[in-house]
Symmetry: C2
């Protein structure tokens, strides 16, 4: 455990006015304290970054944080004392997302350069809602969006010369994350579908616009593996959960096109207006990629908004070897990509791209003190208002890693996943579930007495449930130990699989994770499982 | 201009695999590069932080950023080279929000400690959507929300002991900013208003739920000074712009209660369901605070959701001298506060507080791989999904500044604003518009030939418009010079003022801003104005 820091200058704490001067006003004294804090943070990062353990085995309920009173502290605390406390009481019990043994969620070690950059961003404190509070960072954001738009839609450089910095054009927007991106995309889609010369959904609202247009209801349609942010969006946009139609998938987790066609015909008959078809490029469950080209054609034929949730898979476009898997993405009206996933950027770097640079007019808002019509202010056409200049991380990533760097990272993750799939396919105790399309893989442990029944396909429903419960328990035990972490999920609506199957889920994005780490995690799982078998009912 | 950095280790650039190892894998080489970058950033911050100029006089159109191609760079760029370029081409043309002469928007210098802290946060890369990707930071966020809930609602410590860390309770949520907070509040309000045992708005959607409940439409009601995020929320939630009813204000910018009562009666007659009454604690235009206690009573009497947008004014609760201005806030069902405004936290630290710890069940969503029912995962009941642990900034601010520190900062801003109001009241060329309630002040310049008409109240509409255009131009010229910055807005719907009056707007939140700075900014404005008078038509 790192030792605590003794306060340097302020023992006892200065009079509040002097203390605030120290905190806000650049001075030699401030510099001395800041340097001490910085060195301390550097030591903490060095001790933790890339360390093998994922977390402590301390249960959340036992953290001292849970024993603080709710009254806001009256007096200020020494910066060094606070930082020490944070480092001792909170940091060790967080999740070491940079650990090579943390292979269960969509977070990874990040490249080092974002650490100094984040300090710069905090110091600059830009607000990109408006040019008056960000100026050059507004231009930087637009340039960054042009890079990503080009990667997805590949328009000519003349297109970007025209639209890239044009206040009337919107190539996309940075968001706090994929959920806001998906919501924004579906907001645009809903408004577009219900817009007519006489009836303005922006004025009348959803209910009246629906009625005036002669529709019974609006629906969003996509596969059973759509992210739950689509359900959130449907609720927020007023569609209700009945407004989300989930279509079954083929054995590889891709939307079943014939079922989709049937459902679309049924919608027409019922008078339901399909507001958007959602394609997925990298399902959260298993990394599957929908047939984007075909979906685009089906949407186009009926003039339906086509949205692609490529929060996870979008960056595959930067890999020469795998970009072809996203063929058809260039036909999407809107595309969600998360920078904080496979672009290896800090959390909070979401992205929505718009094929049509004028589509965002459907959600435009103005205000007097800010965001005037005709201005270059980014907040005119975005869900969020004030927000940090996160685009600098994406701009930096594109330069500091380049296509070459991203391509290598993505290719390596997929290579290691294939290697793991091979290992599991031959394994006596684990069962690989589905072939991984990219770098997400699902599998499960089969307790010894049930292996023969699995091999011969003669599991009873009761035995199937027992395996489910076993894998739930296995995943919990492994997570609680804190040495390593694999996630779990329950797959449903996939051709050839039981309706509800609990699987372990591995995501191989962290470049610090080697084959040896993966092998050790599997071995550890097996050890836990074998102990569990002794006690499991 | 700061000199460029020469690359240290990687000349020519390493083979990509080695380069990525340097970027991701802790090592002595990595440390050396990171230290160099860190020192460079420190120099940049020292040169810029608190420096007097707001920005350069370079127009946005002339930035070199606008000349980049849209194709993503193929090869990685040296970190030092990239950072140099960013520092030379982007940073100088950004807005120095820490400048004491930047007194036009809601951004300020920040206390030094958030700089090292942001580096720690980036390194830890927690995702608080889920305990499995944040663990202790989930508990920290809940504790932070308890602090803020206590500050607003002042429940007993036993209440926080029960609900603070209880997964079934939601005292609030951290958001990316006030817009998402307001949207979330109104989402809860809409769902609550249309929820009945038989009709589930979450299932049926807005249109059908409205119909089943026998309402013509749903509306949100508040003053004419409601933030434009309310319009965004109304559009997104399906209410349409007709679903936002704006009530005129008294001469101090506070909602006119008798007009409100009349409009509420009219809603009842029309069969409109009032989904929420919105009170404002610190309007963006002029800092006015609505009569919160009265609004609460009116909402309560008709069982209407009462939301308070205290994005700006909420932190006044931390000032012994001014907390009384928010009396009644404890009756609000939901309260928006922005940490990145008067809590002096980095951008992206929004907050929504819920009086009823169970209200968030109205927007709850689940998913298999994440956010299981019954879990402690924060993402179950929030608009956003994956997001950074921004609550650590708020937790740190509450400890590092305490009530004493925040109180002092807030009191000082209000004191300086009163001082400025006095200065303007006696000024021969400027006209103070309205008495400032807190630390936002509006005024305008009156060209010499029109001063007599203003004094005697005999301005013609044409002359009024001329003054408006004059002040627009004055504000633009001052902003373009880059030395200092005051914003402008157009006030409407305020008793005793012309229907559309352009005013200059000062916000005094930056503790680095002294009376002398303010005086100099006024002098500069006067100089610009006097020159402008010579040419203005």
């Amino acid at each position: 455990m790192r030792k605590a820091m003794e306060p340097l200058y302020i023992q006892p704490l200065l009079e509040i006015r002097e203390y605030l001067r120290l905190a806000f006003e650049p001075s030699a004294d401030q510099q001395a304290v800041e340097e001490r804090l910085d060195r301390y943070i550097t030591e903490v990062i060095e001790g933790l970054y890339g360390a093998p353990r994922v977390t402590t085995d301390t249960a959340l309920e036992r953290l001292s944080l849970l024993r603080q009173e709710a009254a806001v502290p009256g007096s200020a605390v020494h910066p060094e004392a606070y930082m020490s406390r944070l480092v001792h009481e909170v940091v060790p019990h967080s999740i070491n997302t940079s650990s090579p043994n943390f292979i269960g969620h969509m977070t990874s070690a990040l490249p080092m350069f974002f650490r100094p950059l984040s300090r710069l961003l905090t110091a600059l404190n830009q607000n990109v809602v408006k040019v008056e509070t960000s100026k050059s960072f507004t231009a930087l954001e637009r340039q960054t969006l042009a890079f990503m738009h080009h990667q997805v839609y590949g328009c000519a450089e003349s297109f970007y010369a025209e639209h890239g910095q044009n206040p009337e054009s919107t190539l996309g927007m940075m968001t706090s994350g994929g959920t806001v991106s998906n919501l924004t995309a579906l907001w645009i889609a809903r408004n577009a579908a219900l817009l007519s010369p006489d009836d303005d959904v922006k004025r009348d609202g959803y209910a009246l616009a629906l009625h005036k247009n002669g529709y019974r209801r609006g629906v969003i349609i996509g596969s059973s593996l759509m992210h739950y942010s689509i359900d959130k969006a449907a609720d927020i946009l007023g569609l209700g959960s009945d407004g989300v139609i989930r279509i079954g998938c083929d054995s590889r987790g891709r939307i079943d096109l014939s079922k989709l066609a049937k459902e679309m015909a049924a919608c027409r008959e019922r008078g339901d207006r399909i507001l958007a078809i959602v394609g997925i490029a990298g399902t959260t469950e298993s990394g599957a990629i929908d047939p984007l080209q075909k979906l685009a054609e089906m949407a186009r034929a009926e003039r339906i908004h086509f949205h692609i949730d490529a929060a996870w898979g979008g960056p595959l476009l930067l890999s020469d070897a795998h970009a072809h898997k996203l063929r058809g993405i260039e036909w999407a009206d809107t595309v969600t990509i998360d920078g904080h996933k496979q672009m290896y950027l800090p959390m909070g770097t979401g992205l929505l791209l718009l094929k049509d640079p004028l589509a965002a007019a459907l959600i435009e808002k103005k205000a007097q003190y800010i965001i005037r019509g005709g201005s270059s202010d980014l907040g005119r056409r975005s869900l969020e208002g004030s927000r940090p200049a996160m685009s600098v991380f994406l701009h930096a990533g594109l330069h500091l890693l380049g296509r070459e760097g991203y391509g290598y990272l993505l290719d390596e993750g997929i290579r290691k996943t294939r290697w793991l799939a091979g290992l599991l396919a031959d394994h006596h105790a684990f069962e690989l579930i589905g072939e991984p399309e990219i770098n997400i893989l699902t599998y499960r442990y089969i307790p010894a007495p049930l292996r023969e029944a699995v091999r011969t396909g003669t599991l009873t429903p009761e035995e199937h449930n027992r395996i489910n419960r076993f894998n739930e328990r296995l995943q919990e035990l492994q997570g609680r130990q804190g040495e390593s972490f694999v996630s779990r999920t329950t797959l449903s609506g996939i051709e050839g699989l039981p309706e509800s199957i609990v699987v372990l889920r591995v995501i191989l994005a962290n470049p610090l994770t080697t084959e040896e780490h993966i092998k050790n995690i599997l071995d550890l799982q097996q050890t836990i499982a074998e102990e569990l078998e002794l006690s499991f009912g």
